[in-house]
């Protein structure tokens, strides 16, 4: 892998003379760059070397880390190349949080919220950032919660919600408008309204029915996932990952477990991989069903809600039979699965696939050629491929713009290259495309599951290493070694040698990635989620400008923003 990218690395080292190739995170080279040279290096990276997607920015506090670090804080920037295969990481040591680093928002507009988050959580400043303000925590919050010396359970009371007029006025000013003078009406969409999907708030300035400017506020469902990870063992984190995108919990389990497994450098038995593929695709189906059902309901098309929700319920019956829970399954373990499939699963699953297909067919009969539906969603809030990539779009929302990027096809993992399925793309990235891509993806996922059922090999479901997976219960109850083994693994956790790693899968909403920094113990030093919804939401205020309030609701529904994943 390294040799394929050596030209890019050479180029970067030239631009930034003080930089050095520090190491690799799997197949991703990690380059150390001086804060002063960061801006130019990243500019070159995008404009000359074609790393068009900014994946994530990770803040790190190295306090108490076993290996000596130059500075207490550093940032890791992750970029993906235009070929959708290569990833590069840049690390910048932060000498003084207050001086921080240069903002790269002018290069990648998607960096805006990512930098704000780091400011909010670590107190690291970004020079010439357009709006450096807290984003996840409330404005009355003091201190920086992700710093290692901030006590995890020190809560701070928030007495009132901010009015957001400062951000709205800024947006209006860009267009030379003023609330008072131009007689515009500010209106809050959310945070507590079903059409705002729970906890998302957007304030809009209205000229009649038309939105002329808007700003979004997130963080209402910030639940401290990343900090919690630093206090739990790797397997204890699995239940927390369930609750990121709770519409497809299993996929989060898989993305996390896969990252840790890569750090441990272990290969799963094939049976576990195939079961994971089946469950991941089933989760994708459920996720898309919920998104479509809710979006159509927002539009008043209630019948479709029943058509799509009922098969989803059947899928939940299957999952609760298999995993014991309908929604929050926690079924994956590092190194394998909690259990194997139960007797008779195949018939149950086939039945669900049949019902899902029927639900989708019936819905499409109602909407595909329906004039009202078409008029409501076509040409609403389109986004160009270039803009979408700059904002860090991935998954169905990016494919809707016509960009043929699906990690299952471009960076295949879990034998996805051996399955026969199509990558579905739209044409103009409007609300219609975003919804239709999801309909079609449901059918493709059904196709993958059917192939996986046929190809499912027999054998073990867990990697056979007692320092990673639990011994069988018969051993635990009958031998002293088994008991001790179980005890140690549960209490101390799986030990992961110190390293930095990023890995991702194609989740229902896009590239769901985890950056994990291990420190040799059973608990990670730092976990950062690359949450697709976070980046999609960032584009939302711009996307709805020029459209009506009713369109804005549909756009939000079609982006499928899941607050748990966005706010973490």
């Amino acid at each position: 892998m390294m040799h394929r990218m050596h030209i890019e690395i050479e180029e970067l080292l030239k631009i930034a003379p003080s930089s050095s190739l520090e190491g690799v995170m799997g197949d991703t080279p990690l380059i150390q760059i001086d804060a002063l040279e960061l801006f130019n290096a990243i500019k070159t990276l995008k404009e000359k070397l074609e790393f068009t997607i900014l994946l994530d920015i990770v803040g790190i506090d190295w306090l108490n880390y076993p290996l000596q670090k130059r500075e207490r804080f550093s940032l890791i920037y992750l970029f993906r190349h235009n070929n959708f295969k290569d990833t590069i990481a840049i690390e910048v040591a932060i000498q003084e949080p207050i001086f921080g680093a240069d903002s790269i928002t002018s290069i990648y507009s998607g960096a805006n919220w990512l930098e704000r988050e780091i400011f909010d959580q670590y107190g690291i400043y970004f020079a010439s950032h357009p709006n450096l303000k807290r984003i996840l925590n409330h404005l009355e919050f003091e201190g920086y919660p992700l710093r290692k010396d901030y006590p995890i359970n020190q809560r701070q009371i928030c007495t009132k919600a901010q009015d957001m007029l400062d951000e709205l006025s800024k947006e209006l000013l860009k267009k030379d408008l003023d609330l008072e003078k131009d007689n515009l009406m500010p209106l809050n969409l959310g945070p507590s309204h079903p059409a705002s999907h729970g906890t998302i708030r957007t304030i809009v300035a209205l000229d009649g029915e038309k939105i002329v400017a808007s700003a979004s506020e997130i963080g209402y469902l910030h639940r401290g996932f990343e900090k919690a990870c630093e206090y739990h063992t790797y397997n204890q984190i699995i239940p927390y990952t369930d609750r990121l995108n709770y519409c497809s919990a299993l996929m989060n389990n898989i993305a996390f477990a896969k990252t840790v497994e890569e750090m441990l450098d272990i290969e799963l038995p094939d049976r576990a991989i195939f079961i994971r593929v089946i469950l991941a695709e089933l989760s994708r189906i459920i996720d898309h069903l919920v998104c479509l059902a809710a979006a159509l309901l927002d539009m008043g098309a209630q019948t479709n809600y029943w058509y799509l929700f009922n098969p989803r319920n059947d899928a939940y019956d299957f999952l609760s039979k298999l995993t014991g829970a309908r929604l929050t399954n926690s079924f994956i373990r590092i190194g394998g699965m909690a259990y194997d499939l139960y007797d008779g699963w195949e018939g149950d699953l086939q039945d669900i696939l049949y019902k899902v297909r029927k639900g989708v067919d019936e819905t499409l009969i109602m909407v595909a050629k329906n004039r009202i539906f078409q008029d409501r969603v076509q040409d609403i809030s389109p986004i160009s491929p270039k803009k979408a990539m700059e904002m860090g779009f991935t998954g169905p929302n990016l494919r809707a713009c016509g960009v043929d990027y699906d990690m299952r096809a471009d960076k295949p993992y879990y034998y996805y290259d051996s399955f026969d399925f199509d990558v579905i793309v739209g044409s103009c990235g409007d609300t219609y495309d975003r919804l239709m891509v999801r309909f079609e993806e449901i059918l493709q996922s059904i196709k993958i599951i059917e192939q996986a059922i046929v190809a499912l090999p027999k054998g073990e479901i867990n990697y056979n290493d007692r320092s990673i997976t639990l011994p069988p219960k018969s051993e635990v109850y009958n031998t002293i070694e088994g008991t001790i083994n179980q005890f140690k693994l549960i209490f101390e956790g799986i030990k992961v040698a110190p390293k930095i790693h990023y890995s991702a899968i194609e989740a229902a909403n896009g590239e769901l990635g985890f950056t994990i920094i291990s420190n040799g113990s059973g608990t990670p030093h730092r976990v950062k989620v690359r949450a697709p919804s976070f980046l999609h939401m960032q584009a939302y205020p711009q996307m709805i400008e020029g459209y009506q309030v009713a369109d804005a609701i549909m756009t939000l529904g079609s982006l499928n923003i899941i607050a748990g994943e966005m706010d973490r």
Binding site: L136, N137, H138, P145, Y150, P151, I152, N153, Q154, R155, Q156, I157, C158, T159, K160, A161, P191, S192, H193, P194, G198, T199, G219, Y220, L221, H222, R223, G224, K227, A228, P239, Y240, D242, R243, Y246, C247, V290, A294, Y305, W306, F309, N310, N313, Y316, R326, L327, T328, A563, G564
Partner: protein, 172 residues
């Protein structure tokens, strides 16, 4: 005029009862829920409202998204410190009498989010009538909570404020 001894004279056309009883009877099957859905639990609320579990069977299907129209607040999901003032505002906007169901571990106690952002139970903000265990609770459990409220409502005086002495963290 006391008619109780002559009730038989009135035949089938008139029923005499207590005011409390007739009001509670009416309220019982027409609870209008406001769903304060924030997280995963809200997804299970959606399932409860959908056709399989069908909350309409218990007379509570008229979901209102204006708190001024609602008398049953269902808090479904994690409430962060940032969200707390909004929950309080919504509760304050609901007219009396009002009931509160705390759905799930998070709403009831903060769940497994014992950290810097999460409110450790909504009863620090609003008085709770029924707590539902689970993460998330199954739809059946939520239906059971609605039935608990219906039962509870029978034994309460119809015209008196509920929880007059409740203090939230904001009143301290």
């Amino acid at each position: 005029m006391d008619l109780s001894s002559d009730e038989h004279l009135l035949g089938d056309s008139i029923i005499t009862t207590k005011v409390d009883a007739v009001i509670d009877w009416g309220r019982q099957s027409s609870l209008w829920p406001f769903v304060f859905g924030t997280a995963c639990c809200a997804i299970e609320f959606m399932a409860t409202a959908a056709s399989r579990y069908d909350i309409a069977r218990f007379g509570a299907e008229v979901l209102r998204f204006s708190p001024r129209h609602a008398d049953l607040l269902v808090v479904a999901g994690t409430v962060s410190m940032k969200q707390a003032p909004i929950l309080k505002q919504i509760y304050d906007q609901m007219p009396e009498p009002r009931w509160v169901i705390s759905m799930g571990a998070c709403a009831s106690s903060g769940g497994f989010y014992d950290n810097y952002t999460t409110l450790q139970g909504i009863d620090e903000i609003v008085p709770v009538d029924v707590y539902v265990a689970g993460c998330p609770p199954r739809p059946e459990a939520l239906l059971d909570a609605v039935m608990q409220i219906q039962k509870m409502l029978w034994s309460e005086p119809a015209l008196e404020p509920r929880h007059p002495n409740f203090k939230s963290i904001y009143d301290a």
